[in-house]
Symmetry: C2
Amino acid sequence: MLQTRIIQPAEGAYQYPLLIKRLLMSGGRYEKTREIVYRDQIRLTYPQLSERIARLANVLTEAGVKAGDTVAVMDWDSHRYLECMFAIPMIGAVVHTINVRLSPEQILYTMNHAEDRFVLVNSDFIGLYQAIAGQLTTVQGTVLLTDGPDKSADLPGLQGEYEQLLAAASPHYDFPDFDENSVATTFYTTGTTGNPKGVYFTHRQLVLHTLAETSVLGSLDSVRLLSSNDVYMPITPMFHVHAWGIPYAATMMGIKQVYPGRYEPDMLIRLWREEKVTFSHCVPTILQMLLNCPSAAGQDFGGWKIIIGGSALNRALYQAALARGIQLTAAYGMSETCPLISAAHLNDELQAGSEDERTSYRIKAGVPVPLVEAAIVDGNGNFLPADGETQGELVLRAPWLTMGYFREPEKGEELWQGGWLHTGDVATLDGMGFIDIRDRIKDVIKTGGEWISSLDLEDLVSRHPAVREVAVVGVPDPQWGERPFALLVVREGQSIDARALKEHLKPFVEQGHINKWAIPSQIALVTEIPKTSVGKLDKKRIRVDISQWQASNSAFLSTL
Amino acid sequence: MLQTRIIQPAEGAYQYPLLIKRLLMSGGRYEKTREIVYRDQIRLTYPQLSERIARLANVLTEAGVKAGDTVAVMDWDSHRYLECMFAIPMIGAVVHTINVRLSPEQILYTMNHAEDRFVLVNSDFIGLYQAIAGQLTTVQGTVLLTDGPDKSADLPGLQGEYEQLLAAASPHYDFPDFDENSVATTFYTTGTTGNPKGVYFTHRQLVLHTLAETSVLGSLDSVRLLSSNDVYMPITPMFHVHAWGIPYAATMMGIKQVYPGRYEPDMLIRLWREEKVTFSHCVPTILQMLLNCPSAAGQDFGGWKIIIGGSALNRALYQAALARGIQLTAAYGMSETCPLISAAHLNDELQAGSEDERTSYRIKAGVPVPLVEAAIVDGNGNFLPADGETQGELVLRAPWLTMGYFREPEKGEELWQGGWLHTGDVATLDGMGFIDIRDRIKDVIKTGGEWISSLDLEDLVSRHPAVREVAVVGVPDPQWGERPFALLVVREGQSIDARALKEHLKPFVEQGHINKWAIPSQIALVTEIPKTSVGKLDKKRIRVDISQWQASNSAFLSTL
């Protein structure tokens, strides 16, 4: 290490640790009247939010929760979740945001693996909780979260109902200082192979992520994506990578926040209208669902800015949203990255481009946000050129990446190689720093000595007028290694078979967009494509389905 | 310390230090065509800036500068200064930004005290440098900075001229990682008593300051004060608290930057017009000078956003600027605070107020920016209520405050008491967190058992139609302890004496605004009021002048 000048602080100087409590302080003191809204049921002001966080801290402390303990939350998006995201870390404990869409076995696994000491359970999940309670190895107490009138529940170790406990607790809590490298949050990735893996983030990481996020959303680009006058409603669950960190950012800025509970399209549209929501984030499939839901029919969503992440944003959805008044901006991140890595901001050159060119960039993963360093590497870890064409695995450095997987050092070493976090995504980088995600490494189809991006192929297949939805995976092939296989949902009243798809793809081969190995020799027509708990194509499940269909020579299949 | 959960990073994980080099990375890769402009002489793109920073790092390294060394800069605001603010800290050295408006004796003192090893000297300061060179105890080499054709100068230890050295150096430098708590910058406060004191800031502090500054300027308030589409020109010197940190922020965001060299009103106005400047910062006296300069006559400055700090912003200047199209926002900070502490953002309640009410808040010191904690205390360090009325010394916590004074631990202990930085400013805090600076503690006039704010009194005196400028200080009085004394500059063709001033102030006494002790019993009519090197009223000098005038019974004086 270089011998730089380091000076001992003066006697009495305050060495400021970056703690989550500091985010709460800022918004609360400034905007006294702005509200945190929960469905059509609860409205809190910022001072009330701060007071409830202190009360919750007292409830937990009195229930025996200590610094270093892990406290789990099973709830839909709510003001209560926001309170937990502050109060639990602020007493030095770790909040485990349980992915309630995992299977009961997976939830049980994650709770035991995370060593949860205490659980806050929404009444919707009591049945699920009861079913696994007998096998939980570390939980010592529970709290009931409920919107209904019944404040009791048959939960082992129940301390009481949330609102009743808060009402009885002291409204004052002297939140202590501690090491900024203390773990604040943990949650489990919805890995497509093996058990879920626990990522974790420290106070320092979350404070830095919040500052960089507000900085980039407020300052970069001609579109001011986030200002303190916006009204925020998440449409990505709070259990999923801190709802992309926006609840922390919105609280720091004192922004009005609207929490929709369970994601019901009618409620989302109603809250959007009544609370005048201007800023959200979601994955493409959820946006698609929203635009198509009956209560949104004919609705002009003018002024709604939505960040899209989780999966690639395609041009058709971008344009469909724009036609309804929604300004979409793509962003990129993953569970391991807190999550914000890049956002599709347009620089001067791009803003001067045609609408078509601008769209091409607005739907890419975008440019790394401040402090993030991105590169692409080959299989041996050699850096590859940022020429917009060469594909390689995207690797990252940033101050807010998980430093490993909880209690699985060997998986942490796989994630981190040579000081770079390996994303498992194949990407190109261009001269402006734009990241373009081409595929997951494990979804790339290796055929005839070539790599074919399953995403590219899905894009081309989706241009066929009969195709409503598509997933392409590689399936084992004795001659070619792998061959692409397409799973299709056909539009009502239309049809397609493997031969028609080949005809559709031929021009792209002739134009050099894809090579001839990229034409699927087998397709399946299905009514629905399997998705993961966070709405992504579940390619692991799709591969299993395909092998079963192939074994049984299912009627779904159409072969060249 | 609380026993929180701290997890050892995975093998191979990159533990990201917050280093200044990371700020450079972001803007440069994104905006390839935006420029850094120096007067009408130099235009650089961001990639060129990055390359020149690497070249400068090589020049310094080859000249023998090592990590931990201090490298001083004596220059007007320039692209060169920006390059130094990056290159010097990025090699692990400390950049000392010399206040060229100090006296030669003070400059000599600061250079020896800071242990400067190396100095970059603008040709305008060669005479000054030569005069002190013989007494410099640590300097080993110099570099000439010049805009002119003559690339030689009689400077001891001269390595060469900046541009020639850069041209000959390698354009590549592998900037190392090191401890984020390494000192990056130092400069000396223009204290009104005793020797200048050296404050210092670490890489971590500057990165956090930059993130918080861009976050607050971009996201907070209905006015978007800073976006990447702005064009930035400083009108506060770069040697003065990093030009309020904006050069770092602008570089991180890839914003076009315009450096005006020495502050000549004609050049400033010309650059504003030709480069389409939209964002600046300055002290009130400089803005006043700008608005009144001949080349600004009749000019509509529509779209120019200016942050005002350094001294209190008065309503008259705010309105005069607004009438010319300039949107002013007050901010507060000091040399010890990096500097940004607060900005006068309006929340929902205030934005709904009348224009008069909005103005009252736009000219206050403002609301603490994210992560800053502010309080007021009495002389014993007891916290006082934030009721908008109680006055106390403003004390601060933030992640970017100087941790002491360089090589003067006892002065550091005075600055830091009980874990709070003591600003020496008297302020009120209100329920929204608004800070209203009332005076410097040492400028408060203690008379008849009461404290009178010299700023309040200056505001009331300035409302007299004959008064163009005013300074009020307390002078020793055997009966009352101190009595207020007013120094006035009278408008052309007008006059005033102590009796007329008393008549003017009487109604304010009757309305209870001030007590009767606040009426000055003696005033002096002068043609100019002494100011410090950064344009503030020089009350130390004023007190000396007054005692001389009183001793000689000068004709300037008018007594009740």
